[in-house]
Symmetry: C2
Subunit: 333 residues, 2 copies
DNA sequence: TCAAAAGTGTTATCCTTACACCCATGT
DNA sequence: ACATGGGTGTAAGGATAACACTTTTGA
């Protein structure tokens, strides 16, 4: 239908898609809000809430995003942050090329958990279902050693295909930077870089859908993680990386916490986001000494152990430090 | 002309503007590339290279950007990074509202200095001409104490105007976070936050152009810094903030340096970008001990003092550390 | 000779990390 | 009793910031 206009349109007109990666935490598991399959159009892969930006009805991009989310999931978003604008024609070019070009703007939104919040149209999904290689809370995930590294090492050995651009880094160097090795460890912030590498190597279902040549090699092997509609998994990867980075220098973690919480709950939330274990004693000290939280005076019982003091976010922290966030100190177990 | 289509267009079609903040360093001064006034359309304020994204001719957003820059300034860009997508209708709404809505995508590009590089259409401008309050290399700039703080403090005292959104932070809190006070110092990364605050307070020529109510108060006083076309100064602010942050954890500084350089040149470059003085001895030690550079074995004479060893970027640094960048240690003088 | 930049050495301090250990509750 | 989480103390090691000082050139 919209393709009819392609002859008369000024060549600079495009459609803008607004996409929301809405994150929350339930039972220590980070969740992403998925719209029901009925809402999904061209495939039956899971999709984020999304819709076109219509300047006539939406004064700003963010207002447009909020209204699509409200319409599709009945959620009134709080914290919202723009991530990135994707405009590759190469991606998702399965049909004819006449289709109107879509540019996707991805957003990250954070919301406190409320199991009754979604009244229609939405459903939560553990984000590690899409990125099983990103959860290192129980040590190195099996999928990394068994599935990913062997295939990526094989891919890195293959000669560059003709069409690919001359890159400043070799495939082997990128592999090392993204997935680490003996020397360099796992950098939990490089979620997008790892996703892009797996896509390029043809190991994701999205690569096959988009007819990437590298995907032809693995026709028999299962793809990694659950795929998503259009470029939505790429947007979620961007969201995860951004959140994992931001948590360290902005108090965004409190967008995911209840008003009052124990330090253990806070640690579990941070661990869920980071996909890593933290050192308990140091976490507590760093959080308290940074002035990020203050005790409410109350305690919570039935924690499984001794009753825990309840804390709340200390807003003044934002005024005292240039970069108020959760200092991270990893832990072996 | 394009307005003619507004009746028949699908309501989701918009025009995307691609805008490049191209930075370089000349004589310790960070420079931004400006296109010649002839290229500028609706006003005679300085403009960045920019042009619409036309998916028919440009396969990706970045390719579109590169081709506009090449056409308007004859520069072949190297390092390019997307910054942000701005879509406020409130901004730049001086004419009738029928105009096709423009969404602006801002990019940061870095290029080594070459005075002969720009063969036509472009001109370099010291970026502190647009942001005189951002250069703290010679201590607190006069404009901060004499012009900015008094007016902002007055603005912060004024009651919130009816139309402005309920903000999580008060005006006074935002002022303190952006411009510091006795307790909290100057955070050189908050360039955009400061720009936005000055815009909201009506102290920038752009605010008056956009008919911001707050700008009416200051009709008699001079606006701060040189204004720019459309939202280009906002894009440059985003670029400066991003670059000041990124320099600390990515080796982007070498995009601005010659192949071989002295540590003093490198320090002067970093100081120019950060708008701050660094401690000489510690800078050298941090850079060398981080393995970011390696000596070439050569020396440079005529430095004004003892001959200096030449260094080059050590690419392996990218493989060894998760966040290879310039550790900053400020200095009083 | 002297200014200017290059470069080395040392120390105090703070932050991070790791380890050891005790406390209070529910089952 | 003991498992589980809550909570404190302290010491080693590393990174940072500050200071003092020597070296080598060009003007």
């Amino acid at each position: 239908m919209q393709g009819n206009f392609s002859n008369i349109l000024p060549s600079g007109m495009v459609e803008i898609g607004l996409n929301a990666a809405i994150a929350s935490i339930a039972d220590d598991q980070p969740q992403i809000l998925i719209v029901k399959p009925e809402e999904t159009r061209t495939d039956n892969w899971e999709a984020l809430p999304f819709g076109p930006f219509t300047p006539r009805t939406h004064r700003t991009l963010e207002i447009g995003l909020r209204s699509w989310v409200k319409e599709q999931t009945d959620i009134n978003l709080g914290y919202v942050e723009q991530l990135y604008t994707f405009g590759d024609r190469g991606r998702h070019a399965q049909q004819d090329e006449i289709e109107p070009h879509i540019v996707s703007i991805g957003y990250l939104a954070l919301t406190k958990w409320d199991k009754d919040q979604v009244k229609h149209g939405g459903r939560w999904q553990n984000w590690y279902k899409f990125f099983p290689w990103e959860d290192w809370r129980d040590g190195s995930p099996e999928i990394v050693g068994l599935e990913i590294m062997p295939r990526l090492e094989e891919w890195a050995m293959r000669p560059q295909t003709a069409g690919s651009p001359a890159r400043p880094l070799s495939k082997n160097e990128r592999l090392k930077i993204c997935f680490g090795d003996g020397q360099v460890g796992w950098d939990e912030e490089k979620v997008l870089e790892r996703y892009e590498l797996l896509y390029e190597a043809g190991l994701l279902a999205e690569a096959k859908r988009d007819r990437r040549p590298s995907a032809e090699t693995w026709t028999d092997l299962p793809a990694l993680g659950r795929p998503m509609h259009h470029d939505h998994r790429r947007i979620v990867a961007t969201a995860m990386g951004r959140l994992r980075g931001k948590i360290k220098y902005r108090p965004v973690i409190f967008e995911l916490m209840a008003e009052k919480f124990t330090l253990y709950e806070m640690q579990k939330t941070v661990e869920g986001i980071m996909g890593a274990h933290l050192h308990k004693q140091n976490f507590r000290r760093l959080v308290e000494s940074a002035g990020l939280v203050e005790p409410t005076g109350e305690v919570r019982t039935h924690t499984g152990g001794r009753p825990a003091k309840l804390f709340r976010f200390r807003r003044e922290a934002m005024l005292e430090r240039p970069a108020p966030g959760v200092r991270i100190s990893r832990s072996a177990g």
